[in-house]
């Protein structure tokens, strides 16, 4: 695993915009990095990322099944009680899921360590699945990379396949919802919708704020049409708290991701996995941290059960220094996870995002950030597989 420079593609920004990738630069800061890449060997990718992600996914799915049969575990994860039955029903009905991203600390040598699951609203999808692929094709065509250069990336193929597989179970049309005026989230749902359309799924787009509730308790669109299938790029736990949240179980809406993903978007799942598989080479030691007022020992990281984009994560480095990412997620429980060194390349560290589409490992994307915590300011850097 190496980070290498490469000539950037002339006119790549225009190309990005032409392809719908409007957030390649955010507020003047680069998000997409065109002039560098990470290089892996096939063995590293297959043995150290693909195989473990497949195994961890299976462990995670078994955990969902166990949690949904246990009131004490649901309580421990602070899943609100009014939603228990509804969440469990979505699992027992076999409602399929579309995607998830596991974040790994990996240096090319030691076993990849799972930092967390992003299994409800994973982002950086379009850039991993599509723009990264285009980048490689064009860099090969330009002669900047050898003909045999490859990439761990069949994400889009699998996405189209996954939509095709669940199409027959989905009411028509499927509404794709994201937060109003957020270019990155909107870009992600447009991309997912594109994949769905290629699989023959009928679709509509709606801002999450525009969803209405009918006199009979159905969700509606701006034309008062009943929403029966809703892909939401919006945290399920936010919905639980919001005004219409209580209506979810009786609205008969089919949610994608399904409600049972609430178990895996919860950091408590990491503690439960460690309890069940202590010492697993790809897991970091993690425990519930029910008394976050007590001091965090050096070499541990405290994370809220529910947190996105690294918010409210507190890192107590082995050297005694502390890093605290402020944020709005401080209410609720926490977990304590063993600190792991992230590989550094220059002034940045890298985190591997391994994508599962349905239940299949499908590809990866790499984000790097300056500080230890990977936030929403991270940059996306393409990767290449070259065998030496």
């Amino acid at each position: 695993m190496q980070r290498l420079p490469i000539a950037e593609r002339p006119g790549w920004r225009e190309r990005a915009e032409e392809l719908g990738f409007l957030f390649h630069t955010i507020d003047g800061e680069p998000y997409w990095i065109d002039d560098a890449y990470y290089r892996f060997t096939l063995r590293q990718v297959e043995d150290d990322i693909e195989a473990p992600s497949s195994e961890l996914h299976e462990m995670a799915m078994n955990l969902v099944d166990e949690v949904l049969r246990s009131e004490s575990l649901l309580t421990k994860l602070r899943i609100p009680r009014p939603f228990w039955e509804w969440i469990a029903a979505s699992w027992h009905r076999g409602e399929r899921h579309l995607y998830g991203r596991m974040d790994f600390a990996y240096d090319g040598k030691s076993p990849a360590k799972l930092l967390e699951f992003n299994y409800d609203t994973p982002t950086s999808l379009y850039e991993a699945a599509y723009f990264q692929w285009i980048w490689l094709e064009e860099q090969i065509a330009a002669g900047n990379l050898p003909r045999g250069a490859d990439q761990y990336n069949a994400i889009q193929d699998w996405l189209i396949q996954a939509w095709g597989d669940q199409k027959k179970d989905l009411p028509k049309p499927v509404y794709f919802a994201s937060v109003r005026d957020h270019a990155e989230d909107r870009g992600t749902i447009l991309y997912l919708r594109d994949c769905a359309v290629q699989a023959g799924v009928e679709s509509q787009i709606i801002d999450i704020e525009d969803i209405g509730i009918s006199t009979e308790g159905h969700f509606t669109d701006l034309d008062d049409r009943i929403i029966r299938a809703l892909f939401k790029l919006y945290p399920i736990e936010f919905m639980f708290e919001e005004e219409f949240g209580a209506r979810l179980p009786t609205s008969a809406v089919r949610l994608i991701e399904p409600p049972w993903k609430a178990i895996l978007s919860n950091k408590g799942a990491l503690a439960l996995l460690w309890e069940r598989h202590p010492g697993h080479p790809n897991l970091l030691e993690t425990h519930f941290d029910d008394e976050p007022s007590t001091s965090l020992p050096a070499g541990w990281v405290r994370k809220p059960l529910l947190s996105r984009e690294g918010a409210n994560v507190h890192v107590h480095l082995p050297d005694g220094n502390s890093v605290l990412e402020p944020g709005p997620y401080d209410a609720g429980g926490h977990v304590r996870q063993r600190y792991v060194e992230l590989p550094r390349f220059g002034d940045r560290h890298a985190v591997i995002g391994a994508w599962m589409i349905g239940d299949a490992p499908a590809g990866m994307g790499i984000r790097e950030d300056v500080g230890y915590i990977t936030r929403d300011t991270a940059r996306f850097v393409p990767h290449v597989i070259v065998n030496e």
Binding site: V179, S203, Q204, I208, I226, R228
Partner: protein
């Protein structure tokens, strides 16, 4: 090869390329329960359940008029009846006569809750306005249906209500917007709302 051989993106950034299409699906239309049962195109059980459902839906979805004159203006003299409701509805109003019914297969995922049917079919009432020549009908939503026996209709007409009266909106999104001021100041990005992704 660990990557896709070919990727294609069609509609990214464009709006609703396929969403306007209407798909047709098969349905069955009958003048009466007896006609349905005598027909060879479906089973008596489907007839009975479809008819019962249609009759029940007639009570709730039939076009309503406050005067018989208004009703007859649309549906013709002698073609309207008073419908008296028990429960919260007070008084009576006028609805067109139940002149036939349509039965169509429910989508698997629609067969739940108030739409549940053991046969997997959905029945709805049909009406005839003054403008309907023999052989055409109107649904409760005023969609035109032609023919009896096997027919082909747009999917959205064959299924339970696709529209509803919206009481309120903006019941989702509040947590995200409450956190947006935080997000933009701490991350250095000034998006007007915070990302929901992770």
């Amino acid at each position: 090869m660990k990557r896709s051989r070919m990727l294609y993106l069609g509609v990214l950034g464009t709006v609703g390329a396929l969403s306007g299409c209407t798909e047709e699906q098969p349905a069955m239309v009958f003048n009466s329960l007896d006609e349905c049962k005598a027909s060879a195109i479906t089973t008596p059980a489907v007839c009975q359940e479809g008819y019962d459902q249609a009759l029940k839906n007639h009570g709730t979805t039939a076009p309503r008029f406050t005067s018989i004159a208004d009703c007859e203006q649309d549906f013709g003299p002698g073609k309207c009846q008073a419908l008296t409701h028990s429960g919260s509805d007070t008084g009576s109003f006028f609805v067109p006569a139940f002149t036939g019914f349509m039965v169509a297969r429910l989508l698997q995922n629609q067969n739940s809750g108030q739409y549940y049917s053991s046969s997997g079919y959905w029945g709805q009432p049909l009406y005839r306005t003054r403008n309907d020549s023999f052989g055409t009908w109107r649904t409760s939503d005023n969609a035109t249906i032609s023919g009896t026996g096997r027919v082909s209709v747009p999917s959205e007409v064959a299924h339970p209500a696709t529209r509803a009266v919206t009481m309120s909106r903006s019941g989702f999104g509040s947590v995200s917007s409450a956190r947006s001021s935080f997000s933009s100041s701490s991350s250095g990005r000034s998006s007007s709302s915070s990302s929901s992704g992770g």
